[in-house]
């Protein structure tokens, strides 16, 4: 109990910089909340989505964040299975990121649906969940399951730390063992959400799931590399370089696979040149003179390629300045590629051949920023809350 209070107290302690950061984040959140209130009362007409492109920026963000959440497994495996000490010490933060990312996913779906008060209709028992038919119903299951598993692991480890004990692997083991396939499953099921749609040829391909996993395992850990350095810089928590470079290795391999899979997709569509390639044509070169997404996808391709080339050189990968640049490039690259580059062109041309060009409007951007701000706030508060316990454990350990 004393630790609980200590953790809560620590939330309110910090440098001026901490207060300013929080004030800015809460400011963004407040503006977004007002914008959402307006959207809630007037309807999704305030977004740029229409019948032709019925999903947009919100679902794109959702898709990206499922990947970030799944990437926690990149820390879980070396930490718990191979007992790699430098990562074992930070696996907790990876789990926190997973919890926050899944929460953000749920929020992005919440702001996207027309009748959020009816969300309980998709739950088992009280609602009428459509299993086994609906991939979205499966997604509800695995995302909530994954959230529960990570929360459980987090609470258990912190509880042990609070009592000055290391966690008991006998108890943690089953949780870890379940969490690994679950991490893969949340992103696989999210990929199946798209791949199962025979109405949209661009999505209806087997490579979506592997590409999702590959892009998740590069963008998620890249985000971790940046966040961990922020933690290291702003607190006295020690995070070894070795841990970060190990993660950078995974990032490199995953990015290589991601680029490879993208190339196979491009080859198949452009070589065979059937009508089913229309969406890819639209994405990369435009269709009927409509070229909204073309600059975006080429920016993403350029960013991912540059990041990959940088990561190939050990001298660049093992230096924080260049490593961080590469990570930032590939995070933005994958964010564009999986969002505007996958969700939106799937709807263009629409099922009857109409081309409605979609770009997120200011309402969508403000509300999405709000969800990101809330995610940052959640992560910071979780971190601040856990800090005293974690710190105590780290001191006892060294």
């Amino acid at each position: 109990m004393i630790h609980f209070i200590k953790g809560i107290k620590h939330i309110f302690e910090g440098h001026t910089r901490y207060y300013i950061t929080m004030a800015v984040l809460f400011g963004i959140l407040a503006v977004a909340a007002l914008t959402y209130a307006n959207q809630y009362s007037k309807g999704l007409i305030l977004t740029a989505m229409r019948d032709q492109v019925s999903w947009g920026f919100y679902i794109a963000n959702f898709t990206f964040l499922v990947g970030v959440a799944a990437a926690a497994v990149i820390l879980v495996i070396p930490a718990y299975i191979y007992s790699f000490k430098p990562i074992k010490e930070i696996v907790l933060f990876g789990e926190m990121m997973a919890v926050v990312a899944v929460s953000m996913c749920i929020l992005f779906v919440a702001v996207d649906i027309g009748q959020p008060l009816r969300a309980w209709h998709t739950l088992p028992v009280i609602g009428k969940m459509n299993l086994p038919g609906s991939m979205m119903a499966w997604d509800v299951l695995v995302l909530n399951g994954y959230l529960a598993i990570n929360l459980l692991a987090l609470v258990y480890v912190l509880y042990q730390y609070a009592h000055n004990r290391d966690y008991n692997m006998k108890i943690l083991w089953p949780i870890v063992l379940i969490s690994i396939p679950f991490a893969i499953s949340i992103h696989t099921v999210t990929a199946f959400l798209y791949a199962s749609i025979k109405a949209r040829p661009m999505w209806n391909i087997a490579v979506v799931a592997p590409r999702f996993i590959a892009s998740a395992f590069c963008s998620g850990p890249a985000l971790m590399i940046l966040v961990f350095q922020l933690i290291r810089k702003n607190t006295d928590i020690k995070i070894e370089d070795k841990a970060l470079f190990k993660i950078a290795d995974v990032v490199t391999y995953a990015l290589a696979i991601n680029i490879f899979l993208l190339l196979t997709e491009i080859f198949t569509d452009f070589y065979s040149n059937t009508v089913h390639g229309a969406s890819m044509h639209y994405l990369f070169f435009g269709l009927d003179g409509k070229t909204n997404l073309v600059p975006w996808i080429w920016t993403a391709v350029a960013m991912n390629t540059v990041a990959f080339v940088m990561l190939l050189f050990p001298s660049l990968k093992n230096r924080f300045l260049t490593l961080n640049i590469a990570c930032a490039l590939l995070i933005v690259g994958v964010y564009i590629e999986k969002g505007l580059g996958l969700v939106v062109p799937g709807f263009i041309p629409d099922a009857l051949g109409d081309i409605y060009e979609y770009s997120p409007n200011i309402n969508e951007i403000v509300i999405a920023s709000g969800v990101w701000a809330l995610g940052a706030i959640m992560f910071i508060l979780l971190f601040k809350f856990a800090y005293p316990w974690f710190k105590k454990h780290q001191q006892a350990d060294h």
């Binding site: 019948d51 999903w55 609906s134 749609i197 949209r200 229309a278 009857l352 051949g353």
Partner: protein, 310 residues
């Protein structure tokens, strides 16, 4: 548009004003009722799990709500499917002239929102002589002085009432399903508005209420069905139901009635003497995007001069 409405409002006479005021006062005087209705609606079970008595109660509640909102008596029924009936639809591409009378008859009959505009039927204009049909080169925004335009044919598309509907499979909440008579319906009180069914539909047949639907009071069709043309809510999906409120009472859908050239055929697929069966058996029919195996119960054919030799 807005300006027009505003200037119109100023001209309201005293009688209408008093009537409106009375209804308004009644609404304020009955806040409890409204709260009750909210909770009843919020906690309403899935339509297929409601008992007969529950359904009667729900229909009553909705009739009250709509009657208040539209200031005239609105009936909401829940007529059940007829026995031994599976509806099928035929569309004679050779006859269709692209006049879009079906589109507008559908809008009026089924209380589609006028602003923002929702239309369940999309008529595609296509160039003759290139392919059987080429959706990608089709034009839904054609607007000439006279139809048909030489060199083009027209292909209306609406819900194909698939025997294996991908939209039904996609819905995470079972808010849409296929009725025994083959009509794919949506429960507007159960739909959460996730729009996954819209992504899943290969025919662009599902439409979303991006804003609160707007139907002029005097144009509201007050004869409605729970699973069909009753007024919809903001944030839910809607679609063609073969005019469930008409077809289950033995009438033609509004689009069939409205077609000036008789291009639209409708009937019971299980009845060997029905018009639709005649079309299927005597013309070369095809179904849209057959390769997707959705098995539409909506058949296209080229009627004129294309009858199969006996």
């Amino acid at each position: 548009m807005n300006k027009k409405n505003k200037s119109g409002e100023k001209k309201i006479d005293r009688r209408t004003f008093l009537k409106g005021a009375a209804i308004g006062a009644a609404a304020v005087a009955l806040p409890l009722d409204k709260a009750d209705a909210f909770w009843e609606s919020f906690l309403q079970k899935h339509f297929t799990e409601l008992s007969e008595a529950d359904i009667a109660k729900v229909l009553k509640r909705l009739e009250n709500e709509y009657s208040q909102e539209y200031k005239k008596p609105v009936s909401v029924n829940a007529t059940k499917p007829q026995e031994n009936v599976i509806y099928g639809y035929g569309l004679d591409i050779a006859r269709c002239i692209g006049c879009r009378r079906c589109v507008h008859a559908c809008v009026t009959e089924n209380n589609q929102s006028r602003d923002p505009e929702i239309q369940w039927i999309t008529v595609l204009k296509m160039k003759k002589g290139e392919k059987l049909y080429d959706l990608e080169k089709s034009d839904r925004y054609y607007n000439p002085d006279l139809v048909p335009e030489p060199g083009y044919f027209y292909m209306p598309v609406q819900c194909q009432q698939c025997a294996d509907p991908p939209c039904v499979k996609a819905c995470p909440a079972t808010a849409t399903w296929k009725e025994k008579d083959g009509i794919v319906v949506v429960d507007y009180n159960w739909c959460i508005g996730c729009r996954y069914c819209m992504a899943a539909c290969p025919y662009g047949a599902r439409h979303f209420n991006w804003a609160k639907p707007n139907i002029p009071v005097e144009e509201l069709n007050a004869n409605t069905h729970y699973l069909g043309n009753r007024p919809r809510y903001k944030g839910v999906v809607e679609k063609c139901t073969f005019c469930i409120q008409r077809s289950r009472n033995g009438r033609y859908p509004a689009c069939v009635e409205a077609c000036p050239v008789g291009a639209r055929k409708f009937g019971n697929l299980l009845d060997p003497n029905s018009e639709i069966r005649y079309c299927i058996e005597n013309y070369r029919v095809f179904r849209l995007k057959e390769e997707l195996n959705t098995k539409p119960q909506f058949y296209y054919f080229f009627g004129v001069g294309n009858r199969r030799k006996p």
